[in-house]
């Protein structure tokens, strides 16, 4: 196959909406949506603030199978309100993970895949978004005792705020070159810490620190794949079949404290410093 033919053969995952992404990952014909948009379980808070709601509140919950394994997918629609999580969308994701954990306690090995395109808490629903995210964290840690929870940050919104913590709790995390992963959005850091510290308009700088390639090279993600439906599907499927990881990244406090102790925190940091510090003894 020529290069251009290979290029044409690729199907972008990033360009898909949340529902299409979920369909693309599940075994053909197995997609079944819960609380679909026609049920109109919408945000009770947006309309009263003069903000147009979306019928699914920006979160798609779908059950189905991947490689024949029972799976629930929670996919965030990045195009709606920046993928922000409000009460309903947050409860959909938390509730689905809670039911998946309950399945496992009842002998059904349901796994979860989270498609994360989100700026974090939806500020119009502030404290209810934050509470929902705490519930999501709790549910990931619970489900993860039994079966893998696979996080995917494909792009183009990236994964920020409290949901970047959720990404950090996943059993496996998959990123693409289009992904960004970080706790604080660039503009907020610039506002809080100043332009010297973080120039939110310097895109190459932002990507060099928080882009998918850098996160993978620093061991803060488990897989770096092209923006291609088939490749992402294959990698997610592999993670689901692999079972629980040998080392859960969020359980390595001692290791990371040792690494941070070795760092000279005085000079401002470079991407290469992070890769050297974290990659050296990747287990």
């Amino acid at each position: 196959m020529t290069d251009s033919a290979a290029h044409l053969d690729k199907h972008s995952f990033v360009e898909l909406g949340a529902r299409q992404r979920a369909k693309a990952l599940l075994d053909a014909g197995s997609f079944r949506e819960l609380l679909d948009p026609f049920q109109r379980v919408m945000s009770p808070w947006l309309s009263r603030q003069g903000v147009v709601p979306q019928a699914d509140d920006g979160v798609v919950i779908a059950k189905g199978s991947i490689a024949g394994l029972p799976v629930v997918i929670a996919a965030i629609e990045g195009a709606f309100q920046g993928g922000s999580l409000g009460e309903v969308g947050g409860a959909k994701m938390a509730g689905a993970l809670e039911l998946a954990a309950e399945d496992n306690r009842n002998g059904i090995p349901t796994r979860a895949v989270l498609l994360l395109e989100t700026g974090g808490v939806r500020l119009q629903e502030a404290n209810l978004g934050l509470a929902a995210i705490a519930d999501i964290h709790a549910a990931i840690v619970d489900l993860r005792q039994y079966q893998p929870v696979v996080g995917v940050v494909a792009g183009s919104v990236g994964c920020f705020g409290g949901m970047s913590i959720a990404a950090g709790l996943c059993s496996y995390l998959l990123v693409t070159r289009e992904a960004r992963l970080g706790l604080n959005g660039p503009q907020v850091i610039e506002q809080e810490a100043g332009l010297e510290e973080y120039d939110s308009r310097d895109r190459p700088f932002i990507w060099s620190l928080t882009g998918g390639e850098q996160r993978f090279a620093s061991g803060l993600a488990d897989s770096f794949v092209a923006d291609d439906v088939a490749q992402i599907q294959q990698q997610v499927s592999q993670f689901l079949q692999k079972g629980l990881p040998e080392h859960q990244r969020s359980r390595q406090a001692e290791l990371f404290l040792q690494r941070l102790a070795r760092l000279d925190a005085e000079p401002q940091i470079e991407p290469a410093t992070v890769r050297d510090l974290y990659r050296g003894e990747r287990s």
């Binding site: 409860a91 959909k92 509730g95 995210i133 840690v141 706790l183």
Partner: protein, 267 residues
């Protein structure tokens, strides 16, 4: 006068007066093992550290060392008590102005450090430890997610300085393209957007609110009152289980319950 809040430190000192300090953790963490009645507990607080190696985390923010350090402080308890019939309770004293905002923090994966803290608190809960969050000051955003929000009981002191929110007022105003005044007016009519503790309580997320005499520097009576409430909270956890379902049920959080009911039916 310090540039950062001392509430967390003062409440930690007062509550853990008879407890044994735990060493080997970052200086921005105050941790001590003690008891409430015959219940063993570990008190944990994040405090300002003007000498913090990470300059963006010197005012009590939860940063890299704090996230991973909290995880370590909690993991120690889970491991040490694994075979104990009586598990230590974890008391998270919460006075956290924000997560740390900085280049080093993002580059080194502060999200992963905070995930580690949330992970450990959640696992402690699942392992049968009572985890109690005691809000004595600010409980903001990512900092609260890492330190306190995985508690199975949240207790807040009634004071204007005790507030839970996703973003500080000034930043929230800028991000939503409103003035601080507009934001405050809106917040007054939309409970989840409000900054005061009564509005927060209306969401059903708190187990209890308590009034004290001196929030900045607790009196003996204040400490006795809070201790009593902590003991009750630990007892309540023992009686009703380790999940977060106690946070559901308020009318201002009705959609969270309804979504779960519908999901269950359609599952």
């Amino acid at each position: 006068m310090s540039s950062y809040s001392l509430r967390g430190l003062h409440w930690f000192d007062a509550l853990s007066a008879a407890a044994k300090p735990v060493t080997g953790l970052p200086a921005s963490l105050k941790v001590a093992d003690g008891a409430l009645g015959d219940q063993p507990v570990r008190f944990i607080s994040v405090v300002g550290d003007p000498d913090n190696r990470f300059v963006r985390a010197r005012n009590g923010e939860v940063g890299l060392l704090e996230g991973w350090g909290l995880a370590k402080a909690v993991d120690e308890v889970i491991a040490a008590d694994r075979d104990q019939p009586q598990k230590r309770a974890l008391i998270a004293i919460v006075d956290v102005p924000s997560q740390a905002y900085g280049r080093r923090e993002e580059a080194l994966g502060i999200h992963q450090a905070l995930a580690a803290a949330a992970d450990s608190y959640a696992r402690a809960r699942l392992a049968g430890h009572a985890v109690i969050g005691l809000l004595v000051g600010k409980a903001m955003s990512g900092a609260f997610l890492a330190h306190g929000y995985q508690a199975n009981r949240l207790i807040a002191l009634r004071d204007p300085g005790v507030m839970v929110h996703a973003m500080g007022k000034a930043s929230a105003a800028r991000v939503t393209l409103r003035s601080v005044e507009e934001l405050e007016a809106l917040a007054a009519s939309v409970p989840p957007m409000a900054y005061d503790i009564d509005s927060y309580a209306s969401l059903g997320l708190l187990w209890e609110t308590l009034s004290v005499e001196q929030i900045e520097q607790p009196t003996t009576a204040d400490v006795a009152r809070v201790n009593e409430c902590l003991v009750q909270a630990i007892g309540d956890v023992a009686a009703t289980g380790c999940d977060l379902s106690g946070r559901l049920g308020a009318s201002n959080r009705a959609a969270s319950s309804r979504v779960r009911q519908l999901l269950r039916v359609q599952w």
